[in-house]
């Protein structure tokens, strides 16, 4: 048992190295090794189902033990990490074939496994040094994954890594402050120290840590890297980034607020609003702003992956919003939504990746009508968008429902309104996505497009089925979440396999009933429908167009600027951009630095010599002043 936690951590890293070596032999050897090792990681992860294991010391640094631990909450995140990674690797095998340079591919798989390993490390970490170390490793390994695709992706990756590093350093300061206080960064010691620390100290450390997590979790206003990075990354990487990587920020928030700090402690040291500690309340507002603004932005996108990327910002807002409620129901909802978002966003990115694989473009106005050519991908994507929009009976609905109920219980109505609005807005952009990709006019050049190969279908379908499974049987996830939350001092919420009985929230929910009625109604309507006279298929050009004859070379489908009129409504909001503020400061820094550098390092020997004399003169003056320069 002791060894195997370390083994679990080491497996992806070893796998990564072996993959690289295997690539020198043959590409199939490489692919096989990559799949096998990620499979092995999933297997090892599965062994820890519902086990709590407090701490195996794997090293020691500067007097602080380095600890690995596991409990049901970490298991949940481990599950997300390892499962999505496995699917992504399987998906990559065919998708990345278009890359001709084998060396690039070797390192691609290596980095995939490294990112997985780093995330496993973050989740397993039992102390802040381990956590921070793997956090940084995750940052730079995932950076290498993002920049795989051309010039634009380089700019995106650059932005990503710089923002990540800034966030990580904010965390770093907090960790160092904690270290100064305790000299041991094991979670339990830190929690103990925090319980005796002064309020201002706690607030500072927590704020700094949160900044680091916010950058990764892309909570506004620190989200600006995400739309670029997630859309420019290679198709198989996007689900890993969007589905899993940003969840690490959510995990960090959970650990900080409920592992290191407890809600009661937080309430004691700071004022509360709506019975939420003010810090959490601010976080909730940031999350709610993320939800609404990112939804607006997603609605206005023309690029399929960018749309999904903004949608990720919005959805992670729900996760953070739920986590920050501080009540059992809300936190459970947030955690469950983290899992659900990983599933459906992974699914959506993979499905869109499949479309890109066949068509080579992700500009939505260039696509359309693919439903005839790629029916399987269409169906999977349909399930994905239903889940994302939070429509029952798929999984996105259940977790959102929990978050809403938690907010109502706390009477945090304004946040609730924002969450609702974001969810309705999701209808707009998910429909835009499926409409522009799969419905409408099929451009002539895609006449010969086929559905994607089986190896790409498998991951898509596994995820698609998961949306149904976790939608109808939320109890499967609740088993883990509730058990885990008990360890963090939450009162367990009542649940059953199919939903939530009366008393848990202000209402009750049994998803299977909804699903059953829907299926019955569907079947009944379907039977009635086919009882009526038969239909006849006509071509897509046989259309009512005010008498105009439609020809294949004529693009008549309405797919560009789909929500243009809505754009007019939210124009004042869209014209605000935090990115411009950042760019202003970066430019200011550049100009300032350049100006002064040119004036200091003039290339003129006299100037340089005079510096020496100036320093000596200052020193001499200091002596004359009695050595009191300061």
């Amino acid at each position: 048992m002791n060894m195997s936690l370390e083994l679990l951590l080491a497996t992806p890293f070893i796998g990564g190295l072996l993959t690289y070596i295997g690539g020198k032999v043959h590409r199939w050897v490489r692919n096989l090794i990559a799949v096998l090792f990620s499979l092995a990681t999933v297997g090892e992860m599965a062994m820890y189902y519902n086990t709590t294991f407090k701490g195996v010391v794997w090293g020691s640094l500067f007097g602080s033990n380095l600890v690995l631990q596991t409990n049901p909450i970490t298991w949940l995140f481990l599950f997300i990490v390892t499962a999505i990674s496995l699917l992504v690797i399987v998906f990559s095998i065919d998708d990345m074939k278009k890359e001709e340079d084998e060396i690039v591919l070797d390192s691609y798989y290596m980095q995939l496994l490294f990112v997985e390993g780093a995330m496993v490390g973050i989740v397993l970490a039992g102390d802040l040094i381990t956590f921070f170390m793997f956090w940084e490793i995750m940052s730079w390994t995932s950076y290498f994954l993002i920049v795989h695709g051309g010039k634009k992706s380089m700019a995106a990756g650059y932005k990503y890594i710089i923002m990540s590093v800034i966030g990580a350093y904010a965390m770093f300061i907090a960790i160092a402050m904690l270290y100064a206080k305790t000299h041991s960064l094991v979670y339990s010691d830190v929690a103990l120290a925090l319980s005796q620390a002064s309020p201002s100290f706690i607030i500072w450390t927590v704020v700094l840590l949160s900044v680091g997590f916010f950058v990764k979790a892309a909570v506004m206003p620190l989200h600006t890297w995400l739309p670029d990075a997630h859309s420019e990354a290679p198709s198989p990487v996007s689900p890993l980034l969007s589905g899993v990587l940003i969840k690490m920020g959510a995990y960090g928030l959970f650990i900080v607020f409920y592992g290191l700090l407890s809600v009661n402690l937080a309430k004691n040291i700071m004022p509360s609003v709506f019975s939420t500690p003010i810090l959490l309340y601010i976080i909730q507002w940031l999350a709610a702003l993320s939800i609404v603004l990112a939804t607006f932005l997603a609605i206005m996108q023309e690029d399929a992956k960018r749309l999904l990327a903004y949608s990720s910002v919005s959805q992670i807002g729900y996760v953070v919003l739920g986590l920050a409620t501080g009540t059992s129901l809300g936190v459970a909802g947030g955690l469950f939504h983290a899992l659900n978002h990983a599933i459906f966003k992974g699914l959506l990115f993979l499905a869109v990746g499949a479309v890109i694989y066949r068509t080579g473009t992700r500009n939505m106005s260039e696509l359309g009508g693919l439903v005839k050519k790629m029916p399987f991908t269409f169906t999977a994507l349909l399930l994905g968008i239903i889940a994302l929009a939070g429509v029952p009976p798929l999984n996105g609905f259940v977790s959102k429902w929990m978050i809403y109920e938690a907010l109502i219980q706390k009477k945090e109505v304004f946040l609730l309104i924002m969450a609702f609005v974001g969810s309705t807005g999701a209808f707009l952009y998910v429909y835009r996505l499926i409409h522009s990709l799969f419905l409408g006019q099929l451009p002539e050049k895609y006449e010969n497009v086929k559905d994607v190969p089986i190896l790409m279908q498998i991951p898509i379908w596994i995820l698609a089925l998961s949306t149904i499974v976790y939608g109808i049987f939320p109890g499967l996830a609740m088993d883990v979440i509730v058990k885990g939350m008990k360890l963090f001092g939450f009162t367990p919420i009542a649940y059953n396999l199919f939903g939530f009985p009366e008393g848990t929230a202000m209402g009750s929910l049994t998803v299977i009933n909804i699903a059953a009625v829907l299926m019955t109604a569907f079947v009944a309507v379907f039977i009635i429908f086919i009882l009526f006279p038969k239909t006849r298929q006509v071509s897509q050009y046989d259309n009512y167009a005010s008498g105009q004859e439609l020809t294949p070379d004529f693009k008549y489908n309405y797919s560009f600027g789909f929500y243009m009129s809505f754009g007019r409504v939210i124009k004042p909001i869209l014209s605000m951009s935090i990115e411009r503020v950042y760019n202003y400061w970066i430019d200011a820094f550049k100009i300032f630095g350049d100006y002064y550098m040119r004036r200091i390092y003039t290339g003129n020997l006299e100037t340089y010599n005079s510096y020496i004399v100036i320093v000596v003169t200052i020193a001499a003056a200091a002596v004359l002043l009695g050595g009191k320069l300061w």
């Binding site: 200091i600 290339g603 010599n609």
Partner: protein, 113 residues
């Protein structure tokens, strides 16, 4: 005291030359001024008024009347170092003149920030 003043004056003149003068040769000379000033300083530190050489050449010399021998030894070493530095500097000046065709330090600034 005057020795100290003199040596510091030499150093100051040298620094002035190095900073203000544009001619490479003058800069090298300025360096030499500094070096000389430093050497003078070293020797003057060991100096004892009316002192004798630090050698027991005859019996009865009061050791406290002897000039401190160590600074003199140091000076010798310093002079050697200065000389080699100077030689190197002059060599550089020759090379610079070959490359730039001028001895004006203002014009020799192809490397900057």
């Amino acid at each position: 005291m005057s020795y100290y003043l003199g040596s510091f004056l030499l150093i100051a003149i040298g620094l002035y030359t190095v900073i203000i003068k544009k001619n490479l040769i003058k800069i090298v000379i300025g360096l030499n001024f500094i070096a000389s000033g430093v050497n003078l300083l070293i020797v003057s530190i060991g100096y004892v008024k009316n002192g004798t050489a630090p050698i027991f050449s005859k019996i009865g010399i009061n050791p406290s009347a002897m000039v401190d021998p160590i600074p003199q030894a140091l000076t010798l070493t310093a002079i050697v170092i200065d000389a080699s530095e100077l030689a190197l500097a002059v060599a550089f000046v020759v090379l610079l003149y070959r490359h730039y065709g001028t001895l004006d330090i203002k014009k020799i600034r192809s490397l900057k920030w």
